[in-house]
């Protein structure tokens, strides 16, 4: 019995699916528009990645198996996130954060902040793009708020 239970636990652990989980105070879905809206203390968890915001809009699309899957996540209001990519940890903040899962791309808009924790690099800009697969980041500033890059130097 003990071995059977251990086997079941191991089996479920090995084959456990990694899902994206959204917790929120309120949920609204409009099928005609193809959107799901989450408001109030929104927390998104995808394996180790995390995103917190006041509001999250998920735009859905229909895939080849006729299943509804998300194509775009738009988070607004007190947005912050943590992304693990290529053995690096990114912490981000901004007025609006967009995640496009089909392109594996994060876009931070307005008062953008992106910190790479392992190397200690910090980026500031009005638009910051982060590729989830390669871990590369691109920053765009404007005349009033130019791009700023800070690198922590270890003594």
């Amino acid at each position: 019995m003990k071995y059977a239970l251990t086997f079941v636990l191991l089996f479920s652990f090995v084959f456990a699916q990694d899902n994206l989980i959204i917790d929120a105070n309120n949920f609204e879905a409009d099928d005609q528009k193809g959107i799901a809206i989450f408001t109030g203390n929104v927390k998104v968890t995808k394996i180790k990645d995390k995103l917190n915001s006041d509001k999250l809009v998920v735009e859905m699309t229909t895939n080849s198996q006729n299943e509804k899957t998300p194509k775009k996540y738009t988070a607004t209001g007190n947005v912050d996130f943590t992304v693990y990519s290529q053995e690096k940890i990114y912490l981000g903040k901004g007025t609006k954060v967009i995640y496009e899962p089909l392109q594996n791309k994060y876009t931070i808009l307005g008062n953008g902040y992106l910190e790479e924790q392992i190397d200690g690099r910090i980026l500031y800009g009005e638009e910051i793009y982060l590729d989830e697969i390669t871990g590369s980041a691109q920053v765009v500033g404007n005349e009033t708020k130019p791009v700023r890059f800070i690198m922590k130097i270890q003594e």
Binding site: A24, F27, A29, D31, K46, N63, T69
Partner: protein
């Protein structure tokens, strides 16, 4: 002296219980309304001049003057949209006017894209609105949704509170 008090208290108690008994009896009689019709293991259809509006498949259905009760029932409603039907399965169903209460092990299915289980679902026949106040577990397309106090208006709009929405990640 003590005997006097005893007789007096016994008299008061007997008088009090006499009136209590009458009140309760009246109440029971009020709730024991007899059904006009009783259907056992039946399938009932509600139709208009054009189409079937509702199908009630139940173990027992009791039809009263102003209400209907069904036990172990499956009710299928036509929605505002063609080819989209609402199906509700429950232990007990009470219909008063245009409002139906589904209680006990309720399963609410909207076509093939939503399946929700809860202990209660309320359905408004005229507005085609379904809602509840308790916790529920649902599958919404291929995603899992848990929460409470759901509300659906027509077939496109849905909202609820304290949700956890689980999206299966595809490789």
């Amino acid at each position: 002296m003590a005997i006097k008090y005893f007789i007096f208290i016994t008299f008061i108690i007997s008088l009090f219980t006499l009136f209590i008994g009458v009140g309760t009896k009246q109440k029971i009689q009020e709730s024991e309304e007899k059904p006009i019709m009783i259907f056992d293991n039946s399938v009932l259809f509600t139709i208009n001049s054009q189409e079937i509006q509702r199908i009630v498949d139940s173990k027992k259905t009791l039809i009263y003057k102003k209400k209907e009760e069904s036990f172990d029932s499956k009710v299928v409603f036509k929605t505002t949209e063609n080819n989209i039907y609402d199906t509700l399965i429950s232990d007990y169903t009470l219909k008063v006017g245009n409002k139906i209460s589904f209680l006990g092990n309720v399963v609410f299915e909207r076509s093939d894209f939503m399946k929700l289980t809860s202990e209660e679902v309320f359905y408004d026949l005229s507005k085609k609105i379904a809602h509840n106040t308790k916790d529920f577990v649902a599958s919404y397309y291929n995603n899992k949704l848990t929460g409470n106090s759901f509300y659906t208006k027509d077939i496109y709009y849905m909202k609820s509170k304290d949700v956890t929405f689980e999206i299966e990640l595809k490789d």
